[in-house]
């Protein structure tokens, strides 16, 4: 059916009364997402675009039974907003905010440790289960329900893969942007695990890029599991110049970050089907599903 979010997900929006919050809450409701309220300290008791506004996440949860939150607050308040949602026991947090300070994310990750919450992002386009629920800022124009799970570090390439797979008659179960920041919540390996347990996801597309160690973690997970579903990967940045000016190329290498080609090779060694470029993803998915 879908992972993380579905037709029963009840969503609050932290930062709903802002410009972006208003715009995307409205779009989500039009798409059919069950938005049940918003949070904006100081505006509790008012209503905004037809929804009740609360001062705190805990109040919103108690009054609405919300189990997911879309976080659209400015960078300097994003970490506190995430921690507030974690402490209120919200199950799924999607943080779209870009440019959250890295040290703030260390605090957020410490709050996540031992909690039941799942954080997607920050700097994520969000999570979409086509036809069921949208929590995020992505376009839904080309999304259709279907068997393909998508997990990606890139919003733009997710849109491409969604459009391409839909054009070939293959819809998506859930699409997830894990976000472009170095310290973030849900990772590739977590998403792969969830897609494996979802009966309606029959193939998974993973969209990676240079930097970080998400692709390596995904490869390690797949190599050690009997995954049972085809995984198709695109890793971009093969021809990007080595990071300039950064005085820590050697240090990055020590932390395990590899080039796009090395990441792709690790995934291929773990049994993943590699797309040679961004146009090649959907045809490869179709082929993998036909032989399935």
């Amino acid at each position: 059916m879908a992972i993380l979010i579905d037709a029963d997900t009840r969503v609050i929006v932290q930062g709903m009364t802002g410009r972006a919050g208003t715009f995307y809450t409205d779009l989500a409701m039009r798409y059919g997402t069950e938005c049940v309220g918003g949070v904006r300290p100081g505006k509790g008791g008012t209503t905004h675009i037809g929804l009740p506004v609360f001062n705190t996440v805990a109040e919103a949860r108690d009054a609405t039974g919300a189990n997911a939150s879309l976080i659209l607050v400015p960078p300097h308040r994003a970490a506190d907003a995430m921690i507030e949602a974690i402490e209120a026991g919200i199950g799924v947090l999607v943080c779209v905010t870009e440019r959250v300070p890295v040290l703030d994310m260390l605090r957020v990750k410490a709050a996540l440790d031992g909690s039941e919450s799942v954080l997607v992002g920050p700097n994520s386009q969000g999570v979409l289960s086509p036809g069921l629920c949208k929590i995020g800022v992505m376009s839904t124009r080309d999304a259709t329900p279907g068997p393909v799970g998508v997990v990606s570090r890139s919003a733009s390439l997710t849109s491409e893969v969604v459009a391409q797979t839909s054009a070939l008659g293959l819809g998506q179960s859930t699409t997830i942007g894990i976000g472009g920041d170095p310290v973030h919540g849900l990772g590739f390996a977590d998403a792969l695990r969830m897609f494996r347990d979802d009966a309606d996801t029959r193939a998974v597309v993973l969209i990676g890029e240079i930097g970080g160690t998400e692709e390596e973690a995904a490869a390690e997970y797949l190599a050690g599991s009997d995954y049972g579903k085809p995984v198709i990967a695109l890793v971009v940045g093969r021809h990007a110049p080595a990071e300039r000016r950064m005085g820590h190329a050697g240090t990055l290498a020590m932390l395990g970050a590899r080039s796009a080609a090395q990441k792709a090779q690790k995934l291929a060694d773990a049994g993943v089907l590699l797309a040679e470029d961004a146009d090649a993803v959907a045809p490869l998915v179709k082929k993998a599903l036909a032989g399935d």
Partner: protein, 391 residues
């Protein structure tokens, strides 16, 4: 944001890290005066550039007298220094740092980094500090010891003691090294540093721990709470193109090719440049239009590309969705072309929200363009036009 040596040392010293006495000089006379003011028998003259790898590239000169300091400054100032981290063009030396030379009993390496997968700060340490550290560590990572800190930078005493053992710090110097490490962690956390490197961290014969070279990288996303770094941030962007792009909500990196690239989204940008390279071409830039960019801001990015005589063709690859829709980019092209005498051909590929509308804008405004159905076809056409085989 990269913080060069003199500034990094200034910051570290404020938190209690011992650094050699010294100062910045912009001229030969200033360098000699600096040396005379230091009570030292030997001096180091160090080029200040926004990249590492100086030692191996001749950017650090030892000098026995103030007049020798002047000679060294004369050689370095105005010269272009090419190091393993600057790229082929190198960087012009506008400032040198003159400091007392420090006697060394041991050259250690110390760094504070963020380990993203553990979501904790981490210390790296090695007994093999010095100019060859990066090379040696890549060849043999086992020369580096690591110590994870708490998410708030707290260090466990027993673990820290083990870390100092790994650095082979002799007993009489342990307190000095521990003090330097604690001060470094504090400086990193208070300034939102993602990276602090002290290399070499010198242990002197009289058991002092001195940060002889230091660099820092601060988190650009945290600059809002560090107004004290505003002027540093302005200086850190040396490239006019990248500065103008940044002011207009575009991520822009200049490359050395002849195909100007206009793309929304970092992933799509990387994918587009990969396809250009696969088709045998060379991109002139990497571009990622941020979702908040207006058509006017995108037009500034297009103008940057048009102003580069090396750019022969523009490859526009947009996927409309979220907030950036295709027609915003088409309007931006129209605006930039209406203001520019130079009108290079455009290969236009649009998908997603408003793609049809964008194509009709390109057609109605008579922009010199052709459309392509796929990204691969668009890349191939751009490469053909750039190599003169297009028309």
């Amino acid at each position: 944001m990269y913080i060069p040596e003199y500034h990094a040392k200034e910051i570290l010293a404020r938190y209690g890290v011992t650094v050699p006495a010294g100062g910045i000089a912009r001229s030969v006379t200033e360098a000699e005066d600096r040396a005379r003011a230091l009570s030292s028998e030997r001096f180091a003259v160090k080029a200040q550039i926004l990249a590492g790898g100086r030692g191996a590239a001749g950017g650090v000169v030892m000098a026995p007298t103030p007049s020798a300091v002047g000679e060294a400054a004369a050689r370095l100032l105005g010269a272009r220094l090419v190091t393993a981290q600057t790229g082929a063009d190198g960087e012009t030396v506008e400032r040198v740092y003159v400091e007392e030379a420090v006697d060394s009993a041991a050259n250690l390496y110390l760094a504070f980094v963020i380990d993203p997968s553990a979501a904790r700060p981490m210390l790296l340490g090695s007994t093999r500090g010095g100019v060859d550290f990066e090379r040696d560590a890549q060849a043999d990572p086992s020369i580096v010891n690591t110590l994870h800190l708490g998410h708030d930078g707290a260090a466990d005493d027993a673990a820290m003691s083990g870390f100092l053992d790994g650095l082979e710090v002799p007993a009489p110097a342990r307190d000095a090294v521990r003090t330097l490490i604690d001060a470094t962690i504090r400086a990193a956390l208070r300034n939102d540093a993602l990276f602090v490197e002290i290399n070499p961290l010198i242990l002197t014969p009289d058991n002092r721990a001195v940060a002889v070279d230091a660099k820092m990288i601060l988190d650009d996303s945290a600059l809002f709470r560090h107004p004290e770094f505003e002027s540093t941030a302005r200086e850190a962007v040396r490239d006019d193109y990248e500065r103008i792009a940044r002011e207009n909500d575009l991520n822009f990196v200049r490359l050395d090719g002849n195909i100007g690239v206009v793309v929304n989204g970092a992933g799509l940008g990387l994918a587009t440049n990969d396809m250009i390279a696969d088709a045998g071409g060379r991109p002139a830039n990497f571009m990622d239009i941020r979702t908040t960019a207006t058509s006017f801001q995108i037009a500034r990015g297009v103008e940057l590309l048009l102003s580069d005589p090396g750019v022969k063709v523009l490859l526009v690859n947009v996927h409309g969705g979220g907030m950036t829709v295709c027609d915003t980019v088409a309007e931006a092209l129209n605006f930039a072309y209406s203001r520019s005498d130079r009108k290079v051909p455009v290969v236009f590929r649009a998908a997603g929200q408003s793609a049809d509308w964008a194509r009709s804008i390109m057609k109605d405004r008579r922009l010199p363009h052709e459309t392509a159905p796929t990204m691969r076809a668009a890349a191939a056409r751009a490469v053909a036009i750039a190599s003169g085989k297009g028309a």
